[in-house]
Structure formats: structure tokens, C-alpha cells
């Protein structure tokens, strides 16, 4: 039992350990899956950032291109204007309008004014941004661009001045000038021959910020990304934060947010942008748009190389916060995270539920197993107890109880069997029936056993057996014993030694036969007696006539006659007792016959002080029997009752149909002295009487019994003798007669029709 429990708990713990391991494995896998998704999200962020930056680079290059175009356009316009004779010869009527024409074309590109300095460097002819022309005198020969233009080698080349905020006319604005030396080389109507002499210097003053702004202001990277531009010295030419414009890009950021290290952007500016390279990168910034916080930014940059003027270049950068990309990725990732999380949670919850369910189930199972184990234990104990009881029962049984196989080999037996065969010295187990019984008896029993094996049914049989030259009678029951598959493997025999009973039975039979022959004999004797009785009566009769009527002799003969009549009555009784059943049976109405008997004894009732109570059930079916016979029987019971109630009493006669409806019961109940205990067994015997000699023959009840028996009826009685209980004394005789069948009723009708002829 303990071992089993250990086995169960071990098994249970094994299952539990497996579940826990599986749970851990699932958790680890889920964490790995989560990490992988995080990693892939990071990777995705990286890829998308790169992709975004590449697009920013495209934007930067586009902006650079636009600015290059813009610059090229301005330079082209400058060169174009420089070829105009109105400028070359400074024609008084047309130079201002010619300049205005060009200015209006390049005004949008940030050109603030167009100025022409004559070759002496004293006079400047100006058209300003408002389109006003005016001429001013000054010492322009000292300016850098004048000196540069005076040089012959710089013919047809464009000079780009420093970008400065220190311009006299445009203070505070970032301005730059583009200059070209003007020679008298074009011809027109007024000047048909070109002199080829230096005429002066033509230059544009350009608002750089406006120039750049025009090209990059519209650039928008992502949602909030923007572009800025620095020149080759690292100065902001354009920035959405206006205060940065004109400031040194390496310092201005730190000035705004000193706590943040701008080394990354500074390095990019220095090593990439100022080197004229294009590319992408990321850096830390402290703001973006209106947001003021430390953040990562993506940057793409491209150089601006005006084709016609290669000595300087600027660099345009397009920047956007990394968060913009990350947010987009993040939202996807968050969604994915939620989905994954939900699945994860569902798996975890499912697992937890399954495990808890399994645990609960295990517990239920365990409880069930415990209960079953306990039940088993109890039932085992009960089984043991019952086995013990059965063993005691079998061992103490008065019958031979044994089991045998098909060959008649004894497999087991009880003490009684051992005692029965105690003359056999050896152990009986393993012996066969042939060893124990005579050949014939063994064969007989083996036949029965084989029958039980074949039919699988009980066999109940009585038979004689011979054991060691002695004959016994056995009443045996052979029952099949089946194994789990329902196959008979042995036969259980229970044999009772009924030898004594059998002998008794034989004796009884002998007695019965003896009685029957005695009956026949008595009938014969009775008939024979009729002869002498007839003679005695006959002669007495004759003699009575011959003697004096009042004489002593007459009296003697009278006595002889009386006793002969007694003899006659006895003989008649014996004959009716011994008479064989008659072939014809009649049916009779019980109540009618009782009424007839009562009408006969009516007078006696009065003289004997006996009260009669009739309780006759109406409409009873007819019974088997002859009315005369029944009257004889009823009369017998009535007269017996009278005899028992010498001092008066109550006689109750009742009739009824029994519960089964197949017999009519007639009860004669008296309140007489009852039947003494010692007489109760003898009352139906012939010639038994308690009456005085001459009052009764002792044949009444036996004759009645014979009659009722003949009709398959029965007589029984209950009695309380006056010695036993004075209050309840009395005897009740019950006669029950079978209800007549239709056939017998039919016979009765026939008999009644035939009756008059006999």
C-alpha cells in the first residue's frame, strides 16, 4: 500500500516537474522572441533611419542644386549685363534702365543692387533694390574688387567677395558681392567700333540669406525636418532660427545650450561639410523647431559648387529629429509589441490556467485515488471479514462442501468432507472421485460434473453413493465456478448425507403401503362381517317375535340386536373410510349443504343450549364433491362441536373464498373444551375417540378426512384446550375444498339428469 502511494506521488511529482520545465521553457522562448522582436525593431529603426537620411541627402542635394542654379543664374545675368553697351559705354540714357531690367530679373534671387564703378574708380552708378538709380562719387579704387578687376588677367572672370555683415549700405544683413571687369568690347549704333579698353567694374550686391532662403526654405524633411546652410568658413548662411544666421556654426549652438556637447555636429561640419563632402550622419542637438530638449538628429549634407565659380563652396544640411523616424517605427513596434504582448499574455494565462487546472485535476485525482485506496482497504477488510465468515460457515457446515475439476480431482474441501472420508489415511486433496467412491458412484458423479462444466448451470440431484462398501444417500447441488473470463474452471459441490432421511422415507413409504393394504384388508373384513351381522340381526329379529315382549329374554335379544346394529354401523364407517375413490366427481354448493345440515340439527341446538352463528359468504362458487358426502362431513364437525360443548356454547359456521380464489374455506368454530395436546396428533386416525364406548366409533374425523382428501381438499384445525386457557378455549376446524371446474359442473348437471332413472 505504502509502495503504491510512493509510486503515485513520484509519478505526480514527475508530471509536475515536467510541467514546470515546460513552463520555464515557454517563458524563455517567449523572452527570446521578445528580445528578437526588440532587436529587429532596433534594426528596423536603423534601416528606416538610414533610408530617411538617404532621402534627406536627396533633399540636401536638391537644395544644393537649386542654390547652384540660382548662383549660376545670377552670374549669368551679371555676365549678360556686362556685355551690354549701355553699361560698357555708360550711356547716360540707358544704363539705369538696363540695370533695372537685370535687377528685376535677379531681385528674387537676393540681388539687392547693381553698381557700376568707372575705370577711374571715382564714380559709382547705382540702381538700388527699390529700382532708383543714382550716381555717387567716392574713392572706389582702393576696394578689393576694383583692384582685382583692374588686372588684365581677370577679364571675363567673376569675382566673389567675402560674405559680410559689415556692408555700409546694408548693415546687419549678410551680403556678398559678385563683380566682373567691364571692357568696351561690344558695339552698337553709337559705338560701332569697340575700343577694348577697361570701362570699369560691374557688381551685384547680394543678400545671401535671401539667396539661400529661396532655395532651401521650402525644404521639409519628414514632418518637421528643415535645412540649413553654412559657408566655407562655417558661418550659418541660413537657419530657421534666424538668430543663428551669420553666426559661427561651431560656437552658436554651444552658446545657446552650453550643457550639450555638440562635438558630433561640429565634427561633421568640420570634417565633412567644410571639406565639400556629401553624406549622412547623426548628432545630438538640444532643440528642434519649438521643442527644447536633448535629442538625436539625423543629418544629410551636400556641398554647393557653383559651376561657373569654383573657388568657393557652401554646404547645405537637411536635419530631422531621429524621434520622428523612431516614433513612426515606435508606433509600429508598439502595435507589434501589443500584439506580441497579448499573445504572450494569452499563452502565459493559458499555461497558468492549464497548469492550475491540471493541478486541481491532479488533486482531485489524488483525492479520488486516496478515497479509492481507502475504499479498497475497507473492502479488502470487509472481504477478509466476509471471507473469514464464509470460511467459518463452510468449515462448520454439516454438509460436504468441496470443489473439483473436470476430471473429478478434489481441489478443496471443508472439514465435514474430511470427516466423512476420515477412513482414508492420506490427504484427500488431489485425489479423484474414483479413489473415494465405488466405480459406479464415481462415474455417476463425474457425469453430473461434466454436465455442469458443459451447461454452466446448477444441478440439484439426489443419488445413492457407495463409499467403502457402505451405501449412503446424497442430496447434492453442483454449481459451476467461473473465472474472470466467465469460463468454468471448477465445480462447487455441496452434498448432504440424507441416508437417514432416506431410510425414514422408505420406512414411511412402507408404512403407507402397509396402511393401504390394511385399508383394503379392513374393507374385506368389514364386508365379511356383514354376513355374521346379517345373521345375528336376522335371528335376533326372529327371536324377538318368539319371546315374551317384556321378558328378560326379550331384553337380552334386544341387546344382541342393538350391538349387532352397532357392528353394522362400524362396518359401514370402515367401508366408507376404506372405499376407493369413485370415478365420478360432483360439484356441490357449500352454503346449501350447510343449511341442510343445520336444519337437521336445529332442535338439538335448543336442547343443548348452543348458540349458532352463521357467517356464510354469498355467491360462492361450487366446489368439487358430492352433496351427500359434504353433508356427512359437515354433520360430523357439527356433532363433534356439540360433543365438545356439553355445557353449551357458541358454534360459528362461516364460509368464504380464499385469497387466491381457487378454494372455498368452511370454518367450524366452537367454544368447547378444545383438544388436549396429547390427542392433537391422533384425531384423524381411524378408531381414535375420546368418547365413551358406544357413543362414537372414532371414525368420524378419519372418514371426513378421507372424503375431503378425495376431492383434493384439506382439513386443518386450531385448538386451545381448556387446561391451557379457559378464556380462549375452543377448536376451529377449517375445511378447504377446491372450486369446481366447469367440466365437473357439467358432469353434475348430467348426473342430476340421470339420477331419476337409477
Amino acid at each position: 500500500m505504502k509502495k503504491e502511494k510512493t509510486y503515485f506521488s513520484e509519478k505526480y511529482y514527475n508530471i509536475r516537474r515536467t510541467i514546470i520545465l515546460a513552463g520555464i521553457l515557454v517563458m524563455v522562448l517567449l523572452v527570446v522572441a521578445f528580445c528578437l522582436s526588440m532587436f529587429s525593431a532596433g534594426q528596423m529603426k536603423e534601416i528606416i533611419s538610414e533610408d530617411f537620411n538617404r532621402q534627406q541627402l536627396v533633399l540636401a542635394k536638391y537644395a544644393a542644386n537649386r542654390m547652384e542654379n540660382s548662383l549660376d543664374f545670377i552670374k549669368r545675368e551679371l555676365s549678360l549685363l556686362n556685355l551690354s553697351p549701355s553699361i560698357q559705354y555708360l550711356e547716360k540714357v540707358s544704363w539705369a534702365s538696363r540695370m533695372n531690367t537685370t535687377l528685376s530679373a535677379v531681385k528674387d534671387n537676393g540681388v539687392l543692387e547693381i553698381r557700376f564703378i568707372d575705370h577711374k574708380g571715382r564714380t559709382a552708378y547705382i540702381v538700388d533694390e527699390r529700382g532708383m538709380s543714382h550716381v555717387i562719387q567716392g574713392r572706389f579704387a582702393d576696394t578689393d574688387y576694383y583692384k582685382w578687376a583692374s588686372l588684365k588677367k581677370n577679364k571675363n572672370r567673376i569675382y566673389a567677395g567675402e560674405i559680410t555683415r559689415e556692408n555700409e549700405e546694408y548693415t546687419g544683413q549678410l551680403v556678398m558681392c559678385l563683380a566682373i571687369a567691364t571692357y568696351e568690347q561690344s558695339v552698337d549704333e553709337a559705338y560701332p567700333v569697340a575700343t577694348g579698353n577697361l570701362s570699369g567694374v560691374l557688381f551685384f550686391t547680394i543678400d545671401v540669406t535671401r539667396l539661400v532662403e529661396n532655395a532651401v526654405k521650402s525644404i521639409k524633411s519628414g514632418k518637421t525636418g528643415y535645412a540649413w546652410v553654412i559657408d566655407n568658413k562655417g558661418m550659418f548662411l541660413y537657419h530657421p532660427h534666424r538668430e543663428f544666421i551669420g553666426e559661427d556654426a561651431f560656437n552658436v549652438r554651444a552658446m545657446r545650450k552650453s550643457k550639450i556637447s555638440f562635438s558630433q555636429i561640429n565634427m561633421i561640419q568640420k570634417e565633412k561639410m567644410l571639406e565639400g563632402k556629401e553624406g549622412t550622419g547623426r548628432y545630438t542637438s538640444g532643440w528642434h523647431g519649438g521643442i527644447e530638449t536633448e535629442m538625436k538628429k539625423l543629418i544629410a549634407y551636400a556641398p554647393i559648387h557653383p559651376r561657373t565659380h569654383s573657388q568657393f563652396f557652401w554646404s547645405v544640411a537637411v536635419v530631422a529629429p531621429l524621434s520622428e523616424v523612431e516614433d513612426a517605427v515606435h508606433s509600429v513596434f508598439i502595435r507589434q509589441f501589443y500584439i506580441q504582448g497579448s499573445i504572450f499574455l494569452a499563452i502565459i494565462l493559458g499555461g497558468v490556467y492549464i497548469i492550475s487546472f491540471e493541478r486541481r485535476w491532479s488533486k482531485t485525482l489524488e483525492a479520488e485515488v486516496m478515497k479509492k485506496t481507502q475504499d479498497l482497504k475497507n473492502s479488502l477488510e470487509e472481504l477478509k471479514k466476509s471471507e473469514e465468515q464464509y470460511k467459518t460457515l463452510v468449515e462448520s457446515a454439516e454438509d460436504l462442501i468441496f470443489t473439483v475439476d473436470e476430471e473429478g480431482n478434489i481441489l478443496s474441501m471443508n472439514r465435514c468432507t474430511a470427516n466423512f472420508f476420515r477412513d482414508f489415511p492420506d490427504d484427500l486433496i488431489g485425489k479423484t472421485f474414483r479413489d473415494l467412491f465405488s466405480e459406479e458412484s464415481a462415474e455417476l458423479q463425474l457425469r453430473i460434473i461434466r454436465k455442469v462444466f458443459n451447461t454452466e448451470k446448477n444441478v440439484n440431484v439426489k443419488y445413492p453413493v457407495e463409499v467403502g462398501n457402505r451405501e449412503y444417500w446424497f442430496s447434492s447441488n453442483f454449481a459451476p465456478l467461473k473465472d474472470e473470463e466467465g469460463k468454468v474452471f471448477a465445480v462447487l459441490g455441496i452434498s448432504r448425507d440424507i441416508t437417514k432421511g432416506k431410510k425414514l422415507e422408505e420406512e414411511q413409504m412402507y408404512n403407507t403401503e402397509k396402511l393401504a393394504s390394511l385399508g383394503n384388508l379392513s374393507a374385506g373384513v368389514a364386508h365379511e362381517l356383514n354376513n355374521p351381522v346379517a345373521l345375528i340381526l336376522g335371528f335376533s329379529d326372529i327371536l324377538l317375535e318368539k319371546v315374551e315382549p317384556d321378558s328378560k329374554s326379550h331384553e337380552i335379544v334386544k341387546t344382541i340386536e342393538r350391538q349387532a346394529l352397532n357392528c353394522k354401523r362400524i362396518v359401514e364407517s370402515i367401508l366408507s373410510y376404506a372405499r376407493h375413490p369413485e370415478a365420478i366427481e360432483y360439484s356441490a354448493d357449500v352454503n346449501e349443504n350447510i343449511e341442510k345440515v343445520i336444519s337437521v340439527v336445529k332442535n338439538i341446538l335448543v336442547t343443548e343450549k348452543i348458540t349458532l352463528e352463521k357467517r356464510l359468504t354469498k355467491d360462492l362458487p361450487k366446489v368439487r364433491g358430492d352433496s351427500g358426502h359434504l353433508q356427512q362431513v359437515f354433520m360430523n364437525f357439527v356433532t363433534n362441536a356439540f360433543s365438545a360443548m356439553k355445557e353449551g356454547g357458541v358454534l360459528t359456521v362461516s364460509t368464504n373464498l380464499n385469497s387466491a380464489g381457487n378454494k372455498v374455506e368452511i370454518l367450524f368454530k366452537d367454544t368447547g373444551h378444545g383438544i388436549k395436546r396429547e390427542y392433537r396428533n391422533k384425531i384423524f386416525e381411524a378408531f381414535f375417540t375420546t368418547k365413551k364406548v358406544g357413543e362414537g366409533t372414532g371414525l368420524g374425523l378419519s372418514v371426513s378426512y378421507g372424503i375431503i382428501n378425495k376431492y383434493n381438499g384439506d382439513i386443518s384445525f386450531e385448538t386451545v384446550a381448556e387446561e391451557e386457557d379457559m378464556e380462549r378455549k375452543g377448536t376451529t376446524f377449517k375445511v378447504s375444498l377446491p372450486v369446481a371446474s366447469l367440466d365437473s359442473e357439467h358432469q353434475t348437471d348430467q348426473a342430476q339428469r340421470l339420477a331419476p332413472r337409477i
Partner: protein
């Protein structure tokens, strides 16, 4: 009218009793024998009006005797007296040809009435026969 009556019974006392009853109470002449075997011969030779016989006798019983007698005389009435008084036995003997059956023990009046009636019946049968014969002759 005195008639000739033959009484047969194996019991001599019974013969004496019957002879005494008939002799004392009637004018009939009684012949008795206790040997049933000689009855047919007696019937042949004598002129008996009535036969009274016991049923159970050694040598020949009443039923056999009736058959034998009927071979000799078809008309003689036979009274059977039997100790085996039962309806069945009475029926049987009457069917076999007996006129009446009286069971023992009997009262002497029973015997006397039965004898009278038997003889009367015998007389009537005889007269009837004679009348029939006369009618045939005519």
C-alpha cells in the same frame, strides 16, 4: 299362492335364517343348497318360481350363476343378497339379469317384500307370455 323358492348360500346359517324367515312368514316352499354348482341342475329339474342367491360363493359367484341360470331359464326372477353393499355392485348384478339386490345386513321385511314383488312380477310375466301365446294362436 305358494311358490317354489330356491335359496343358495355357502353359509349354512344364512340358509337357515332365510328358510326360517320365508317359512315362518309366507306359505312358499323353500329349497336350500350351499353348493352353487348344483343350482343349474336343480333349476332344470325342479319347478322354481324364484332363486335367492348370495353374491360371493366358493366355486361360482352370483354373477356367473345368473349367466348360467339364464341359459336354462330366461324368466325365473333372481334375488341377489350381498355383503358388499354398494351402488356399483347392485347396478352390476341387475344389469346381468338379477331382479333385485339386497345388501347384508338386511331386515327380514326387506327380504319378504322383495320376494312378493319378484313373484308378482314373475306371475305377471308368465300371464303376459300366455296371453301373447293365445293371441298368436288365434
Amino acid at each position: 299362492m305358494a311358490a317354489q323358492i330356491l335359496v343358495v348360500d355357502d353359509e349354512l346359517d344364512m340358509l337357515a335364517l332365510l328358510a326360517m324367515i320365508i317359512g315362518e312368514k309366507t306359505e312358499h316352499k323353500v329349497t336350500t343348497t350351499n353348493n352353487a354348482l348344483e343350482v343349474p341342475e336343480l333349476i332344470k329339474t325342479g319347478d322354481y318360481n324364484l332363486l335367492i342367491s348370495d353374491l360371493k360363493m366358493p366355486g361360482m359367484d352370483g354373477v356367473e350363476l345368473i349367466a348360467e341360470i339364464r341359459k336354462i331359464d330366461k324368466h325365473i326372477p333372481i334375488l341377489i343378497i350381498t355383503a358388499y353393499g354398494s351402488v356399483e355392485s347392485a347396478e352390476e348384478v341387475i344389469r346381468k339379469g338379477a331382479y333385485d339386490c339386497i345388501t347384508k345386513p338386511f331386515r327380514k321385511e326387506q327380504i319378504l317384500i322383495s320376494i312378493d314383488r319378484a313373484l308378482e312380477w314373475q306371475q305377471m310375466k308368465k300371464e303376459l307370455r300366455q296371453l301373447k301365446e293365445k293371441t298368436v294362436k288365434r
